[in-house]
């Protein structure tokens, strides 16, 4: 059977979700953001909640997320998305509300906002992209940068005496009574991406159950910031990032 004979609409088993717009993503080749955007779009599409979902993306590479997923969006100041989401969910409790934040945003400038949103048990979903670096501003050290890792502000490698230690904020948040579901995932392989999608779906479902905040960390690559090819960046992530940031569920109050 020739390929042309297979390429018929009835034989499609996977395609770009309809909720992803046709805009070409501004992300670098191989960037995890694109894959995570797709998973979020698939979850919203499959749950049929496009008309009830509000996304909030603050400063960072994903500040333009509103160009890619076809839902209503709010663009927030650096670190402040959980505050916006708090108000949106409290004022519009029938909506699904999620933030999409990077590690510089969530784990550095926005620590107060995320901790208190978690502590209050806001019924929102937080997608946390952790690639251990500030991507948009050109590869500076983030709170999650690994020890020894070279960035433009740690050109000789992160030294704990100079720069402090990597922040495992996800484990910290799991300690808070207001969080319902805390997990750490990745999207470098098809199997990992399927698990990440299930986690995102669970987060959205939990956010409608009035049981608290769902937090999905995605350990990600920033191949431009890491100065590696996309494939090498994935390998480096598996070899180094996963040791500090191991994958799997950390907390699930319904289990």
């Amino acid at each position: 059977m020739e390929n042309q004979d297979i390429m018929k609409p009835e034989n499609i088993v996977y395609k770009k979700p309809a909720l992803l717009t046709d805009n070409v993503m501004h992300y670098c080749p191989g960037c995890s953001h694109g894959t995570v955007h797709k998973l979020v779009a698939e979850v919203i599409e499959e749950m049929g909640i496009q008309d009830r979902t509000i996304g909030i993306s603050p400063v960072g590479c994903s500040v333009f997320a509103y160009n890619y997923i076809d839902i209503d969006w709010q663009e927030a100041a650096h670190g402040r998305a959980p505050a916006l989401a708090t108000a949106v969910k409290r004022l519009c409790p029938d909506k699904y509300v999620f933030t999409y934040q990077g590690d510089g945003d969530l784990a550095s400038i926005g620590t107060a906002e995320i901790i208190h949103a978690c502590s209050r048990g806001e019924n929102i979903v937080v997608i946390f992209i952790n690639n251990g670096i500030y991507g948009m501003t050109g590869g500076q050290m983030a709170p999650t940068t690994l020890l020894g890792m070279k960035t433009s502000t740690t050109p000789y490698g992160r030294d704990p005496k100079l720069n402090g230690f990597p922040l495992k904020i996800t484990e910290m948040l799991a300690e808070l009574d207001g969080t319902a579901y805390i997990t750490r995932q990745a999207v470098h392989t098809a199997a990992a991406a399927r698990k990440a999608k299930n986690a995102i779906r669970k987060g959205f479902e939990y956010s409608a159950k009035d049981i608290g905040l769902s937090f999905i960390e995605i350990v990600s690559t920033c191949n431009s910031g890491w100065k590696l090819s996309p494939v090498e960046a994935n390998e480096w992530m598996v070899g180094h990032m996963f040791a500090k940031y191991p994958l799997g569920d950390i907390k699930d109050v319904l289990k």
Binding site: N3, I6, M7, K8, V13, Y27, H33, G34, P230, V231
Partner: protein, 79 residues
Amino acid sequence: MNINWIEMAFKGTIEIDTQRCKGCSVCIGNCPNHCIRLSKSVNGKGYRFAELATDGCIGCASCAIVCPDSVITVYKVKI
């Protein structure tokens, strides 16, 4: 259900939006049958793009799932 996996075979293929592909190659390593390669020519953005190299595709969609730019459509038929 008793499935005879040996007799149950699939043939698949992929369609790549080559103008949107950024040639990141993440799909290549994720293909279990090693059927994808980078093209020799470049697209309008100057990227070498992913293309199907062999007819070993089984339509598993691994390549499409990990594609950050969602440029791959996957087709599959039972044979």
